[in-house]
Symmetry: none
Subunit: 230 residues, 4 copies
């Protein structure tokens, strides 16, 4: 089987895994069932993904790739706009990604939570053998910082074109935006989905608020002078 075919089959399997994980969650999903959903046997499944962990990482990788793609699309779309518009659009892109891809966003959070100690060069007690041996883990390590880098770059472009006047370090801005979206995503998951209000609050409102704050943070002097006095 050539690489293309194998890759295509891998995709079908991850598709199946996504369907199963969506319904019963990662922990309750059985490899047997995932295999059945993919129309293959357990052993074949294992020949593609050496562990359940690895399968989840493959899904995570797919999620991160999708997110990166969307970032690139947004950047391309806004290449002739002001930097600030692009940055705000990126934040919206991320929020929409989380709304539309619950499984992926959860997976990404799980991933970032998992790599923490490692990234800090500390104990790897929580990193299972299966994870360490996963090729997708390696692949993820390679692209995990891309969203941050892209955002930083756009902030810098905004600073250059004058649309972004904030003096805050671009990486601080980026991480703050990232945190904002993650919080939003978690609140979504706590509410069930995008459309269901939580405490009678429409999540749309939270989203708009986030976007408004982001824009204000990046581009308004008024807001800025306020911040400085904190």
């Amino acid at each position: 089987m050539n690489d293309a075919k194998r890759s295509a089959k891998e995709n079908l399997i991850v598709d199946a895994a996504e369907r199963v994980f969506s319904v019963v969650g990662f922990k309750n999903a059985k490899m047997e069932n995932i295999a059945a959903e993919a129309g293959i046997t357990k052993v074949t499944l294992y020949s593609y993904f050496q562990s359940k962990e690895n399968l989840y990482l493959a899904l995570t990788y797919r999620g991160l790739q999708l997110l990166n793609d969307k970032y690139y699309q947004t950047i391309d779309q806004y290449k002739n706009s002001k930097g600030i518009d692009c940055v705000v659009a990126l934040i919206e892109t991320f929020m929409d990604f989380c709304s539309d891809n619950y499984l992926y966003s959860e997976a990404l959070l799980d991933y970032f939570a998992m790599v923490r100690s490692t990234s800090a060069g500390k104990d790897t007690a929580k990193l299972t053998e299966a994870t360490k041996e996963s090729i997708y883990y390696t692949k993820l390590l390679d692209i995990q910082n891309l969203p941050f880098k892209l955002t930083v770059k756009e902030i810098q472009r905004g600073q250059e074109d004058g649309s972004i006047i904030s003096k805050i370090d671009p990486m601080v801005q980026t991480l703050h935006g990232w945190a904002t979206v993650i919080g939003y995503a978690k609140v979504i998951s706590a509410s069930g989905d995008h459309a269901t209000p939580l405490f009678n609050v429409s999540l749309k409102d939270i989203k708009q608020l986030n976007l408004g704050v982001a824009r204000a943070l990046l581009g308004s002097t008024q807001f800025h002078s306020q911040l400085e006095t904190v």
Copy 2:
């Protein structure tokens, strides 16, 4: 064994569980090891906590209780201050709670992620029997909204005393603040801990930015109109 004694022993067990979870994470923790850490046998452990899930929920409950306590303390501390100061302080309280109690904050997030569909009255496929039968699950359901309510109340106090001029619905504000802190907590966990910088960014900076944004948001009318115009 009277209630007091039993309760004391339960506490010792949760203490042990926290130590074990801290080192290897929830998933990799074995009931056997937790029992050993607590100096009891597995069966005794089960006589106190009917499932691993339940034990985790007990820990979660302890975390939420601690958070609530800290909220009450902060509110008490700021009872003579302006509402806005108290609300900002509450946000800081929550952020510090997350920094200082990684395990609890993760547990709380897991909990809120878990109850989502349920709270929305939807599929309970992901809710295990163990969870449904857990007394701590019931207990958590009782107090899970307390932080929100307390925050909303303080925002209202701030609106009354004029320190908060934002026209944004207090619950929207609260959820937004909540999301902000959760994002911050997740970024902390992705960095390993409070003190380790991520991308050379001090987490202190993110925290300050969050506090600044919160204050600005509460103290300005700017965003209200923005929400309306969406």
Copy 3:
């Protein structure tokens, strides 16, 4: 569970394994079925015997113990008889053991075939991990030479009491007798069982011939010179 109880249960399990092996043979026997036959689950079976290999070695050990017991009984029975009578009786004991305990005699042969290279200090490629780690393998190594030693001793007694006049080295005699019995055992297994004639030959006749040869060999000086002239 104290040692006695555990040991008793081990015995019940080996009983069950013997029944299953008898019917379908070692290779075709499934651990699942053996567990069922013993009235326990597969996991419990594994908690007693860490591998199928180990279980077989336990059975082998039991077989060797039984053989040794029978040797001791025969020796005790013949303690007041001439040495030659005892040695011949030992050979008969072994032949009967093989007739009556097909499974054990096969297991013993498998065992001796397996340890060959090892005993010669050579390649252990054929020794599986499961075998090396088996406690029964260690136990077997300890007692595997007992039958030989007992036989040699009785031959020496016969030489001392004058009933055995052969000058052949007792160990050569012993090994020759051992080989004789093994050959007999294999012919039995090739015939199906003790009672079924092979090529219209009653196995009883072979047995009697063996005993006759043994007695003649021990009681004559004829063969000693023959060995020398080779």
Copy 4:
């Protein structure tokens, strides 16, 4: 591919199988490795030998053919000698065969152990489908008795030429000789090989003893009268 070519390739494959079996034993040998050793793929291997069992039976068949060839050679060599000399020579031939061809002698024993119940017309539970369908199984059934028949014939010739005076039934004699050699072969395998002494006993001594006993059994009146009194 014509029959000759196919047959030649079959031979190459069995050669490869012998090499692999020699190193790791039958059970531990993987079809994958055998195929690799033969320079073909697994599926091609299967197109020649429908099962691992069948491959082993092919090897067994080759072994039995070799043994038969050697019997014929010995008989031809001794066609002008006395019958007793030929019979003793056949026994030596068989012993040497076992020494020199460990794999074949083990295979033959496995084979004879396997056919036992079948030959006795009893349960065939232990006979796998693979075996039943193997063409080599059929071939083996055809020639399995040849060594016995040849031996019986030579014993009868010896009785006719007066060199063999034993009144024991030729088939009993034959089976006894067969058993003797098998026992010898098993002792060899328990020692590792022909040259390694077991318990400081040279296997040469056992061999000579066997030959001496055989000759005495067949040709000596003295030994015989002794036997009768048993």
